[in-house]
Symmetry: C2
Subunit: 575 residues, 2 copies
C-alpha cells in the first residue's frame, strides 16, 4: 500500500512537466512514467520521427521480488550521456572523510543507516530508501557497491540520478578498498543479449523492448521473427540446448524432467497465433493522461507459426488426470530469465485452458519453422494462443500445476485492468483479474498519421490488422474516412471466416485493406478503424473512458489523420 501511495505522488508531480521537477517525483516507487518537454515532442515521437527523449523519468516496477526496468534514453544518445555521468561522480571531495569498506559494510539497515559506494564515493542513502522507484530492492546494495545493481537496469544511467546520489555523499572509500572493488567489477548482464534488426523501434534497450514500423508489420501475414515485436522483462538468458531441462511439477506422479530431445518426442503440433503485449497502443493512453509503462505504438503485436509439444500432452505424461481439476485451477510457468535476486519471470494460465484439446497451448521450440530465436524464448517457450503476451512465458524452465495463480509480480500486481477513476492511491490489485484473453483490437498501419495524399491519386488505400483474444475470430472491420460518421467494410486477408478447426480457435489475426475514393471536398481525412469478433464484441469509441493507470488494454478505435494536397497547377497558392 505504501508503494502505491508513492506512485500517486509521482503522478501529481509529474504533471508539472519540467526537468527540474523531475528530481522530486523520482523520489517515488513502482512507477515508470515518461514526461515530455512539450506536446510537440510527444507528437513527433508518436509519428516515429525518432527525436531524442530529453525530458523523461522512469523507475523500477518492484513487486514481490521481481523487478521491471524501463530505459529512458534513446539508444543513439547513450554513449555521450554515459561520458558526462562518469565525469560528474568521479570528482573527489577532499573535505569528506575516508571510510574503509569494513566501515561501510556496517551500514546495512535503516537502524544502522544505509550506506553504499559508487565509483569510490561513499553515500548515506538512508533517507532515499523509502523514495526509491525500485522499492526495497535498493536494500540489496546496502553496505556495498551499487554498480552491479545499476548495471542491470539502464534506468540509472542518467544525469539526474547521479545528481540525486551526489546529495547523499558522506565520504570517500579508502584507496585500498577501491582497488579491491576493481577486481570484482560487474559485467553488463545484457552484454550477451542477441543482435537485433536495425529497423525495430526501440522502446527500451535494457531489457530490450521494441516494435516494428507499422507499415512493415502489415506487409506480411506471418511476421518474420526478426521483426516480431520484442518484449523482454529481464536479460536474455543463455541456454545451452544440450543441458536444458524442463521441469513439470505439481502433479500426483511427482516431478517430470524433460530434455529438449525428450520434448521433441511428443507429437509435434503447429499453430499460427498472434501475440500481443497488454501495453500495445499504450502511447494513445499517455496522450490522455500519463500512465506507467513502455510507450508502445501500435505494433506490439505480431503473428507467427509456432511448433512444439502440446502442453496438454506433456501434462498427461506427467500424470495429469481429470481428477486433478478438483483441486488444481492454474498452470504456472517460470522463465529462466532472472533478476538480480535470482527471481525468475513468472505467470500462470487457467488449468482448463492448459488441458483443453481446443486450447492449443504449446511448449514451442520452433517459430516460423526454425528454432525459436533467443529474444523469443530459445529453446522453449509457452505459446498460449488467444492470451496476452505476458503469459506466453519465454525461456521456459518450469511448469507447475497448482491451486493458485503464479505468485509473480506480473501475475499479481501488474497486467490487470482498472477503471479510469482508479488511481495509485485507490488501486487494489486484488480486485481485478489477471489479464488472460485480450479484447477485440484493430489498428491502421497505413497510411501513417500525418501522411499527405495527393489529390491526383484520386483514392487512398488503408491497411491494418485486427485480432481478438480467446480464439474469437475477427468477422468484420469497419473503416471510416470521416472520423466515424460513415463506415465501410474492409476486405479481410488471412483465411475465410469460419476456417478455424472449430469455433473459438481462431488464434491468428486478420490483415485488412480498403481502397476508397478521396472525398471531393475534403482537405483532410480522419481515418478510423474498428473491428468486430465472432462474439460481436466491438472496440470502444474513445480512449479516455478506458484509460487505466497501467495503460494496458488500449483498444479504442484507432484514428489516423491524413492531409490531402491539392494539385499545384489547380490550387497552388504561393502566399
Amino acid at each position: 500500500m505504501l508503494l502505491l501511495r508513492r506512485c500517486q505522488t509521482l503522478t501529481r508531480f509529474g504533471s508539472r512537466n519540467t526537468e527540474r521537477h523531475l528530481r522530486v517525483p523520482s523520489a517515488v516507487a513502482s512507477c515508470a512514467v515518461r514526461l515530455w518537454s512539450s506536446r510537440e515532442e510527444q507528437r513527433s515521437q508518436q509519428h516515429g520521427r525518432g527525436l531524442s527523449w530529453r525530458h523523461t523519468l522512469a523507475g523500477l516496477l518492484a513487486g514481490t521480488g521481481a523487478v521491471l526496468a524501463y530505459g529512458l534514453h534513446h539508444h543513439r544518445h547513450k554513449a555521450e550521456q554515459a561520458d558526462s555521468i562518469g565525469d560528474k561522480t568521479a570528482t573527489k571531495d577532499s573535505t569528506l572523510p575516508i571510510f574503509s569498506q569494513e566501515e561501510v559494510t556496517k551500514h546495512r539497515t535503516l537502524a544502522d543507516r544505509v550506506w553504499v559506494t559508487y565509483k569510490g564515493g561513499v553515500y548515506d542513502i538512508t533517507d532515499f530508501v523509502a523514495m526509491h522507484p525500485g522499492g526495497d530492492k535498493i536494500m540489496l546494495a546496502a553496505g556495498g557497491a551499487i554498480e552491479p545493481f545499476w548495471a542491470l537496469y539502464a534506468v540509472h544511467n542518467q544525469e539526474h540520478v547521479l545528481d540525486m546520489l551526489a546529495e547523499y555523499k558522506v565520504g570517500e572509500l579508502s584507496a585500498e578498498d577501491q582497488k579491491k572493488q576493481q577486481t570484482v567489477k560487474s559485467s553488463d548482464p545484457y552484454s550477451s543479449d542477441p543482435e537485433r534488426h536495425p529497423v525495430l523501434r526501440i522502446n527500451n534497450l535494457k531489457p530490450f523492448n521494441a516494435e516494428p514500423p507499422p507499415e512493415i508489420l502489415s506487409d506480411s501475414y506471418i511476421t518474420p521473427s526478426a521483426l516480431f515485436f520484442k518484449r523482454n522483462h529481464l536479460p536474455v538468458p543463455q541456454v545451452d540446448p544440450a543441458s536444458y531441462r524442463l521441469h513439470v511439477e505439481g502433479l500426483p506422479g511427482g516431478a517430470l524432467t524433460l530434455s529438449l530431445d525428450d520434448l521433441k518426442k511428443f507429437p509435434k503440433h503447429t499453430i499460427t497465433a498472434t501475440l500481443q503485449c497488454a501495453g500495445n497502443r499504450r502511447s494513445e493512453m499517455n496522450k490522455v493522461k500519463q500512465v506507467k509503462g513502455l510507450n508502445w505504438g501500435i505494433a506490439a503485436i505480431s503473428n507467427a507459426t509456432w511448433s512444439g509439444a502440446r502442453l496438454r500432452d506433456v501434462l498427461q505424461a506427467a500424470g495429469y488426470h481429470p481428477d486433478v481439476a478438483q483441486w488444481a485451477r492454474h498452470v504456472q510457468f517460470e522463465g529462466l530469465d532472472k533478476d538480480v535476486t535470482g527471481t525468475t519471470y513468472g505467470a500462470s494460465i487457467p488449468l482448463n485452458k492448459a488441458v483443453s484439446e481446443e486450447g492449443d497451448v504449446l511448449l514451442a521450440y520452433e517459430m516460423n519453422g526454425e528454432d525459436i530465436p533467443a529474444d523469443h524464448g530459445y529453446p522453449v517457450r509457452a505459446v498460449v494462443p488467444g492470451t496476452v503476451g505476458a503469459r506466453n512465458v519465454k525461456w521456459l524452465g518450469k511448469v507447475i500445476v497448482s491451486a493458485e495463480e503464479s505468485n509473480s509480480h506480473w501475475q499479481q500486481n501488474d497486467y490487470k485492468g482498472f477503471s479510469p477513476g482508479t488511481d495509485w492511491d485507490t488501486v487494489d490489485f486484488k480486485t481485478a483479474p489477471a489479464i488472460q484473453e485480450l479484447p477485440i483490437q484493430s489498428a491502421i498501419t497505413q497510411p501513417a498519421d500525418g501522411a499527405v495524399v495527393d489529390r491526383s491519386a484520386e483514392e487512398v488505400t488503408i491497411k491494418g490488422y485486427a485480432w481478438s483474444g480467446g480464439g474469437r475470430e475477427v468477422v468484420r472491420v469497419d473503416v471510416s474516412l470521416d472520423g466515424g460518421k460513415t463506415w465501410q467494410v474492409a476486405q479481410l486477408r488471412g483465411g475465410e471466416r469460419g476456417q478455424a478447426s472449430s469455433p473459438g480457435r481462431a488464434w491468428a489475426w486478420k490483415l485488412w485493406e480498403v481502397t476508397a475514393p478521396l472525398p471531393p471536398a475534403a482537405q483532410e481525412l480522419e481515418l478510423v478503424c474498428k473491428a468486430v469478433d465472432d462474439s460481436y464484441n466491438m472496440q470502444p469509441d474513445s480512449v479516455p473512458p478506458i484509460w487505466n493507470l497501467r495503460g494496458v488494454l488500449s483498444n479504442a478505435w484507432h484514428r489516423v489523420n491524413v492531409k490531402i494536397r491539392e494539385d499545384e497547377d489547380e490550387d497552388g497558392d504561393e502566399e
Copy 2:
C-alpha cells in the same frame, strides 16, 4: 435479393413519417418498421407511459419458409380497432360482379393473376404480391380466403391494411360460397396461449413478446418465471407431456427417441444462466435510425435457474463419439412451434459448445425449480448458456447433429450483425456469422430516464444489471453521473468474482449498485454505465457506430437522464 431491395424502399419512404405515406411503404417485403407520428410519442412509449401507437407500420419477416410477425397496436386498443375494421370491409359494392369460389380458385398464380377472398369480397392482389411485407408467403392464400393467414399474424389487423386491400377489390363472392366459408372459419392460433402477468410490457401480442419493467427486473437476482422476458416467434404449442417425444438424429447409431420420463433419467444438472434477446435495447437503435424488429427496451434479458439433462449426456447416449467431430460441426434444434406452413422454429449451435463438459448446455425441463412454464418451452427447451436467446430453442422437438448450421430463417437470414453502413440494398446475410455468444452488456434499471430526484435526498442510488456472453464473467461496472467524464466503480451483487466452476462458465448476470452524493451544482445528471468482462471487453461508447439494420447487439453505454429538484423552501419559483 429481390426481397432485400424491397426493404430498402420501405426505409426510404418510411422516413417521410406520415400516415398517408404509409400506404406506399407498406408495399415492400421482409420489413417491420414502426413509424412514429412524432418524436414526442416515441419518447412517451420509451418511458412506458403506454400511449396508443397510432402511426405504425409493420410487416412480416419471411425467410425460407418461416415467418416472423410483428404486432403493432397496443393491446388495450385492440377491441375498438377490430370493430371499425370489420365495418369498413363488410360494405358491399353492388356495382361489382359476383364470383363463385370455383372462379376464385382459378387465380392462384401470377400468370393467372392472384385472387383472394376476405369477408365476402374478392380481391385481385396480383400487383401487390411483390410488395407484400411478408414476402412470397402471401401466395399461400392465393385462390382462397385470407382470414386463416391473417389470424396468425395480428399485424394485418389494422385500418391501413384494409384500406390497401380495398383498392384491389374486383367483386363479391357468391352468397352460397360465403356460407360454405363460414363453416371452415379459422380459429385464432394464439387462442391457447397462456395467461401472462399484467405487469409485463407487451411489445407484441401475437406472437407474444413482452418484457418486465426495468425497476422490477433488478429487484431479484433470479427473475421469477412470470416476469422473465417472453420472446415467442409463433403461437405457443400445446404439448401433452405424456405423449411428448424428443428425437435425437444425425448420429451414427441412428435416431434416439426419448419421452419426458426418459429424459429425466439422465443425471439432472442445474445451472443459473441469464438469457438475453439479440434485440434487447433495440429501441435505442431506433432512436438513431429506424431498424427492423420489436422495439425492446432494456429488459429483454432475465436470469433463472435451469435444470435438466446435459445435452452432452444425451448425445453420448445417442451414439456421439469424438470421431463425429470429424464431419459434424453443428447441433440443430427444432421447436414444436409452427407457422401456417408447418415450418417449425429452428436454430443451431456449434458442436463443440454442445458436447463440451464446460459448455453446460441443457435439455431443461425445470425453470426456477418448477416445470418450465408454457411461455418458456414446456415441457423441454434447450438452454445454451452464454448464447443469444434465439438459440435456446423452446418446446424442443428435435436435436440434429449435422455438418451444417440450421437452415432456418432465424439462423440464416436473421440474428446477424452488420456494419452501420450496410443497408437493405447491400446486405448479404451470408457474409456475417449467426450470433451465438453475445458481447458485454449492462444497463441502468433505476432510476428511470426522466426521473426526478429531490435535492434533499442528498444522494442517488443507481442500480442495474451487467452480463457478458460466452461464460465471460463481468468483473467491473463503471458508473458515471456526468455523462461519462468521470467514473466510479459499482458494487457487484451475484457472487464473488471467480466463483464459477472454471473460467468461461460464468453464465449468470451480476446486479450492481452505486450510491453517490448528488453533485452540488448539478441541475440534472446524465447517468451512464458500462461493464467489463474477464476478457476485458468493454461496451462501445455510443449507438450510431454499432447501429445495424436489424437493430441487434445494442450494447452501447446505457444513459439515463435524471433531474434534480431543488427544495422548494430554498429555491421555489412560482412563475
